[in-house]
């Protein structure tokens, strides 16, 4: 299959800065070539949606952006990824600092087996974002409100995070990531277990975050991509098939694969 390179088609950056510049990124899981030669520029103060069929490499690519792939023994990453012009795979880069700036919500909710409060307060604590307990409380409350979880858990902040329902856990993880105030937030299907109302609230949150940060979101819901994102990237079999303004992608897809994926839209 011949790759459709994106570089030459990169859309005008609208005077917005490029936050992430990725060039010829390749990811291998052992022998398996999971990401093939992907080049893409992600913009600042923008929501970018990654769409594509299951198993096409969205999560893999997302995990490259904050070097979470380092933790998978067999994963190898090649190519260059520049965050604000600095190569994040440079030997001098401290992945910890990188991840503090590039936060992540995982596809499978993974709350710590600690209290709800501690789950959210963990990031602010290690990064010293609060000067005192009151400030920390405030950060926690704000994050939980943002993730539309506050009302459900405000009376049980001391209970363990793993005792929550699936959707609640997912929102807890969102709150946890938001509380750390990253510059870039990577969200891997953040609303997959949420009901419509909670989804709307999270989407609202994403929209708010966009004012200051960039957000990258993986989603299977075309509607959601259309609602929240300004840019959309369509992945297929490890290739980045098409990348552009969300409107364009959904209304005038240039690649036949994009078109057939979008038109097969169901729900």
């Amino acid at each position: 299959m011949d790759d459709v390179r994106m570089v030459e088609r990169v859309v005008d950056t609208d005077a917005r800065d490029i936050k992430f510049q990725c060039k010829d990124v390749q990811v291998f899981y052992g022998e398996k070539h999971a990401i093939k030669d992907v080049s893409v520029d992600l913009l600042d103060k923008t929501v970018t949606a990654f769409i594509g069929p299951s198993g096409c490499g969205k999560s893999t690519f997302l995990r490259c952006l904050n070097r979470m792939n380092d933790t998978i023994g067999i994963a190898r990453v090649q190519g260059r990824m520049l965050l604000d012009g600095e190569d994040i795979y440079d030997r001098r880069v401290d992945p910890v600092q990188l991840r503090a700036r590039v936060g992540m919500v995982f596809q499978k909710p993974n709350p710590f087996p600690k209290s709800i409060y501690d789950n959210v307060a963990y990031g602010p604590r290690i990064h010293g974002l609060a000067r005192n307990r009151a400030e920390l409380d405030e950060i926690v409350e704000k994050a939980l409100r943002g993730a539309a979880l506050w009302n459900e858990v405000k009376d049980r902040l001391g209970e363990t995070g793993t005792g929550l329902s699936g959707g609640q856990q997912q929102r807890l993880c969102i709150a946890r990531a938001v509380a750390t105030a990253p510059e870039v937030l990577l969200m891997d299907e953040p609303c997959s277990a949420l009901d419509p109302i909670a989804t709307a609230q999270v989407e609202e949150l994403i929209d708010e975050l966009r004012a200051t940060f960039s957000v990258v979101i993986v989603t299977h819901s075309m509607q959601q991509a259309a609602r929240v994102s300004q840019k959309t990237a369509f992945f297929h079999l490890g290739n980045l098939v098409e990348y552009g303004d969300t409107d364009d992608i959904f209304t005038r897809p240039r690649d036949p694969r994009t078109e057939s994926y979008i038109s097969g839209r169901i729900g």
Partner: protein, 393 residues
């Protein structure tokens, strides 16, 4: 000042350094800790580590080399210097966390090197005396001899095969007792028992590991040995020895139960519940779930526990001395007295033999041989674990 008090002084200095480093970083950040690269505690640790580490290392060196007394005050001075340097480096953008973590990493490495150092030291302390032994006694006879009859006047036969046979035989029986019992006990405790039962049974079984082996030895000698002889060995015509491989193996197995049960219990308990749920929801019984899902996932830990038990079995002396007798021979009959390498190491090393004679030095050769053999065993175990490990999530 004695080294002890100097150490205390250095530690006190380090504690002071911690406080100073912390407050200085906060001050430099103008009270807003968010302006710092690293949390104030890391700045504190940074200063504390730089105060304590070089000074303590110097002190240890001085002690080891039995260097003159002025080194101790020098260590104190070094501590003060370290404090000053570290404090002067403190700045809002100073990567204190990275530095501290590098140092901690260094400490971790040093700690894991202790194991290597121990190995090297053991090999060294065995190898020279072993060489001495092999200069006096032909190695072929040692490795392939089937007679073990040391005697004072010289002319001893020092073949290790009977000892090796006894070692393997007794360890095998001990493991045949300890592994099933320990594993089933662990499974029961972590999967079936109520938390209350578990919280009583687990520490209780652990007491078995703490009972001095001499008690087991006497138990073997006085109770189990005659029992086996009168009820099994004699009626079956398998001999009339009160001490036997079977006696020692059974009793040793008893002692090893907690090694298998407690460690396995922890590991089994750590297997995520979602895996059990997944299996139960398919309509598998609890035991099917355990055998096919939980145990494979817990395999590395269980193998580790079994290895530990096996190691202990190989290294045990007292139970063998009292339970198995001191007869070096090769026989398939488990109701006969035999003995193990470890017993003979202890025996030859603490006896009345002339310490420069092959009869004593053979202990070192035995130790070295055992070391190499168990090394092989462990390589094999590592390979097996690598091959069959099922990593969850």
């Amino acid at each position: 000042m004695s080294p002890f008090w100097i150490t205390i002084a250095i530690l006190a200095l380090a504690a002071l350094g911690y406080l100073l480093g912390r407050s200085r970083s906060v001050r430099l950040a103008g009270g807003d800790t968010r302006a710092l690269h690293s949390r104030p505690t890391y700045h504190g640790w940074h200063v504390a580590l730089f105060t304590a580490l070089p000074a303590l290392v110097l002190l240890a060196l001085a002690r080891l080399l039995q260097a003159p007394g002025w080194l101790a005050p020098a260590a104190l001075a070094l501590g003060v210097a370290g404090l000053a340097v570290a404090l002067s480096r403190t700045a809002p953008q100073f990567r204190a966390r990275n530095v501290v973590e590098q140092v901690v990493r260094g400490i971790l490495i040093v700690c894991s090197l202790i194991a290597i150092a121990t190995t090297v030291a053991i090999v060294l302390s065995l190898v020279f005396e072993s060489l001495r032994f092999f200069r006096m006694y032909p190695w072929q006879d040692f490795f392939f001899g089937t007679e073990w009859t040391p005697s004072f006047g010289g002319g001893s036969e020092l073949g290790m095969l009977p000892l090796l046979w006894g070692t393997l035989y007794i360890s095998l029986i001990a493991l045949l007792v300890a592994v099933p019992v320990g594993l089933y006990a662990a499974i029961y405790m972590s999967e079936y028992a109520t938390p209350r039962v578990r919280s009583v049974v687990k520490p209780a079984i652990e007491v078995l590991a703490g009972i001095p082996t001499i008690v087991y030895g006497l138990f073997a000698l006085v109770t189990v040995g005659p029992l086996l002889r009168d009820w099994i060995a004699q009626p079956l015509g398998l001999g009339s020895s009160g001490s036997s491989v079977m006696t020692a193996g059974l009793v040793m197995g008893m002692m090893l139960i907690p090694f298998v049960s407690s460690l396995s219990d922890d590991i089994i308990n750590a297997v995520p519940q979602s895996l059990r749920d997944g299996s139960l929801a398919m309509g598998s019984t609890h035991s099917e779930t355990i055998r096919q899902v939980v145990l494979p996932a817990a395999l590395p830990g269980i193998v580790g526990a079994v290895l530990l038990a096996a190691s202990r079995a190989i290294g045990e002396t007292m139970i063998v001395v009292l339970g198995a007798g001191a007869m070096a021979r090769i026989s398939p009959n488990p109701f006969e007295a035999m003995t193990t390498i470890t017993v003979k190491i202890v025996g030859q090393l603490t006896g009345d033999n002339d310490f420069a004679s092959p009869e004593t030095l053979v202990a070192f050769a035995l130790g070295l041989t055992l070391f190499v053999m168990t090394l092989g065993l462990n390589v094999l175990a590592l390979y097996i674990v690598r091959k069959y490990r099922e990593q969850y999530e």
